[in-house]
């Protein structure tokens, strides 16, 4: 438990340190605009700035969510078409330059300097990312977005719930073991033998010990989020398991009757 807390503390500190290295008063330079190409699927504070600028001139009506999704994509295309640019939905140097020229009144949602390292400033309150891009320091807040496959999808809020479950169930496990626990929950969603929604699967009576003992309500660590994102993007180290248990603490005998697949750290995964 303590070890888990310590490791998560370290993993949180790292990006914070990175951030404080980033000079808040970065100089505006021309080459800063030649920073990374933004396309559908891109994520980060510069995407938020793109969304804010587009929204200011009425091209974007969605939420400012750091994720270059479909709505942002069509807004960019509309913008490109209106401003005589090549319509490809990609935000490179020329689209960037046109957009900056079109939003002269854009005020970076800045409230001055950073409260050095005490808490991670939300990107909404930080400097204009586009201007600090030259330093190649990326956003300190882990961005969690949801990929969509043609088979099924999870909302960002379902993912949050899975992260809680993964954290409560397996935060002492190696990363691979956490991804496997997330994968088991997703595998249950595809099985006719389990409830058909993420909340119902997680809160099914007796399904998860972390629900029974309340550990699911602990705030998930960034590692848990990372594990869930990994599983949602198709990783399944459990090879299709729908059950798992800790052989040292398992309280019921029936679980041993399930056909096993493999061990990952302290857990045995089975069908």
């Amino acid at each position: 438990m303590i070890v888990a807390l310590l490791t998560s503390a370290i993993s949180v500190c790292l990006p914070l340190q990175n951030f404080s290295v980033n000079p808040p008063q970065a100089v505006e330079t021309a080459q800063a605009f030649s920073a990374r190409m933004l396309v559908r699927g891109s994520a980060g504070a510069d995407v938020s700035e793109l969304q804010r600028r587009l929204s200011q001139i009425g091209f974007y009506k969605g939420r400012i969510d750091q994720v270059f999704g479909w709505q942002t994509y069509w807004s960019v295309r509309n913008f490109q078409s209106k401003f005589g640019l090549k319509v490809d939905g990609r935000v490179g140097a020329s689209t960037r330059a046109k957009l900056i020229a079109a939003t002269p009144n854009y005020a970076a949602h800045s409230n001055g300097g950073h409260s050095a390292g005490s808490s991670a400033p939300s990107p909404a309150r930080s400097q204009s990312r586009w201007r600090t891009q030259g330093t190649r320091q990326s956003n300190p807040v882990p961005v969690r977005n949801v990929s969509v496959s043609s088979t099924g999808q999870l909302s960002a809020y379902d993912m949050r719930l899975v992260a809680n479950a993964v954290n409560g169930e397996s935060r002492g496990e190696p990363f691979e073991g956490q991804v496997a626990v997330a994968a088991v929950i997703l595998n249950r969603l595809r099985s006719p033998l389990f409830p058909h929604s993420i909340p119902a699967i997680i809160f099914q009576p007796g399904a998860f010990t972390a629900v029974q003992d309340g550990q699911i309500y602990l705030t998930p660590t960034p590692t848990s989020f990372r594990a869930v994102t990994e599983a949602v993007n198709g990783s399944d180290p459990s090879d299709g398991a729908i059950y798992y248990f800790n052989p040292a603490t398992a309280t019921s005998k029936w679980i041993w009757s399930r056909p096993q697949i493999k061990h990952i750290a302290h857990h045995i995964f089975c069908r």
Partner: protein
């Protein structure tokens, strides 16, 4: 004087403890009652929902008109779903009531197929085989209802507590004198004796999560061969530090988990199919802490990696960026046509462009020498089948799997309506609208994000 004080204090303490203890007892008791009430409510709901389900199924056998058939089967579908939910709310996961759960699911699927989502151009009146199937399901559900009702009577008469199942589980005993456990076991036993009802979609339901190994090329490989395969795949000169372990009988197909030790890095793990030695997935836990590549540059890396590792004729259909990494979803492609059953995901670290993960299970099971078919419908004809409220943005030929798991050639149409984006699949032979998907790609809004981050900080300080 002193002793009087002492006695007085002790008396007060004793009474205080007594009151405190009684309060504790009351609190615990009320929590227990609350839990039990929830279980009881689910259980009695299950009984009454199965009752309704059975009545509706019965009606469907006697109905002749579409007009009445639709709502009746819609009700059957609805109540089977609710009954499934009721069952899942009982503390019975350790009893493996798979057959009962499956029975309810099949009733739902059958009524959904006939009434809610019938095949294109199929009348909603029952065919003889549909009628026979429903008749069989009706009789089975009558049995289920009877079993649950008699069990319910017992629960009420003898005042049985469903939460006692929790106690049995906690005691780790194989006690079989728990009447709740016995009651549900009897139900499960009854359902498992039912003859199987078969239809195309029910069969598809059964095989949906199964992978048919016969579609995969190659012969079974020994673990030595698999280790060599992996060494070649990862461009390593020798097999030092590579170990393969066979997965247990619970795996979906005979397969190995291979561990590759890396110098100064966490190991790479791979899933390899025994037949043909195909690499199914790969992952390495190494986080990128900064970005030097953008999403497009990362895509080039993913594409290079794919073609140099034998995944040819593939196109990127989706990409997602997260935490300085990017996941690219590939699909098999021939000419302008996309084959959705045949997909693969590749994860690229955006700091050095290395590939840190991939999953090619669907590729392994669906890859073949795809031929671009000649389709009856032109693109223009297909677009006339799209809802006129949708403004069409792009379209191309694609192959998808229909509800029964069969490949269908379609025109894939990307369109927008209000602020949303939709994918509409129009059958390229018949013009039938096969499926409509709403596309979402979103993050948690920033307010939430800040909250989460603050929460993490708080926890770490604590």
């Amino acid at each position: 004087m002193n002793s009087r004080w002492l006695t007085g204090t002790l008396a007060v303490l004793l009474v205080g403890t007594g009151i405190w203890g009684y309060r504790q007892y009351q609190d615990r008791r009320s929590l227990e009652v609350k839990t039990e009430n929830q279980y009881q409510s689910s259980f009695h709901n299950l009984a009454s929902h199965v009752d309704v389900l059975q009545d509706e199924l019965g009606k469907s056998l006697a109905i002749q008109s579409d007009r009445n058939m639709s709502p009746t089967l819609a009700n059957t579908w609805r109540f089977s779903y609710i009954a499934e939910h009721d069952l899942s709310q009982l503390p019975l996961i350790s009893l493996n009531l798979n057959k009962t759960q499956d029975f309810l699911h099949r009733v739902g699927q059958m009524s959904y197929d006939i009434s809610i989502h019938p095949k294109a151009n199929q009348a909603r009146t029952l065919s003889q085989s549909d009628w026979n199937n429903l008749h069989e399901l009706y009789q089975q559900s009558a049995n289920v209802e009877q079993e649950i009702r008699s069990f319910q009577t017992k629960v009420l008469d003898q005042n049985l507590r469903i939460s006692s199942v929790d106690t049995v589980r906690q005691e780790q005993t194989e006690r079989s004198d728990n009447q709740i456990v016995d009651g549900f076991k009897a139900l499960e036993n009854k359902v498992s004796q039912f003859p199987e009802v078969r239809s195309e979609s029910l069969d598809a339901l059964k095989t949906r999560n199964n992978y048919d190994v016969s579609t995969v090329s190659g012969t079974p490989q020994s673990s030595d061969q698999i280790v060599k395969n992996v060494a070649t795949f990862l461009n390593r000169t020798g097999t030092d530090g590579i170990t393969a372990e066979k997965n247990g009988p619970g795996a979906r197909y005979p397969s190995y988990t291979v561990t590759v030790q890396n110098q100064n890095q966490s190991p790479t793990r791979l899933g390899v199919m025994e037949k043909g030695g195909h690499i199914v997935w790969m992952t390495q836990d190494k986080t990128a802490d900064h970005e030097t590549l953008d999403l497009e540059q990362g895509q080039k890396k993913a594409e290079q990696w794919a073609s140099s590792h034998g995944f040819s004729d593939m196109a990127v259909i989706n990409s997602t960026q997260y935490e300085h990494s990017a996941a690219y979803q590939f699909a098999c492609a021939k000419g302008q046509m996309i084959y959705y059953p045949c997909t693969m995901t590749v994860k690229v670290a955006l700091d050095d462009g290395s590939v840190r993960g991939m999953n090619a299970q669907d590729y392994v099971f669906h890859h073949q020498d795809h031929q671009v078919p000649t389709v009856q419908m032109t693109q223009a004809q297909a677009l006339t089948k799209v809802n006129p409220h949708v403004s069409v943005q792009e379209s191309r030929l694609a192959q998808i799997l229909d509800d029964n798991g069969k490949p269908v050639n379609v025109w894939e149409v990307l369109g927008t309506l209000d602020n949303n984006t939709y994918k509409i699949y129009v059958n390229a032979a018949t013009g039938v609208e096969e499926r409509v998907e709403k596309l979402k790609q979103e993050g948690i809004s920033q307010a939430d994000d800040a909250d989460v981050q603050d929460g993490v900080n708080r926890q770490n300080k604590a």
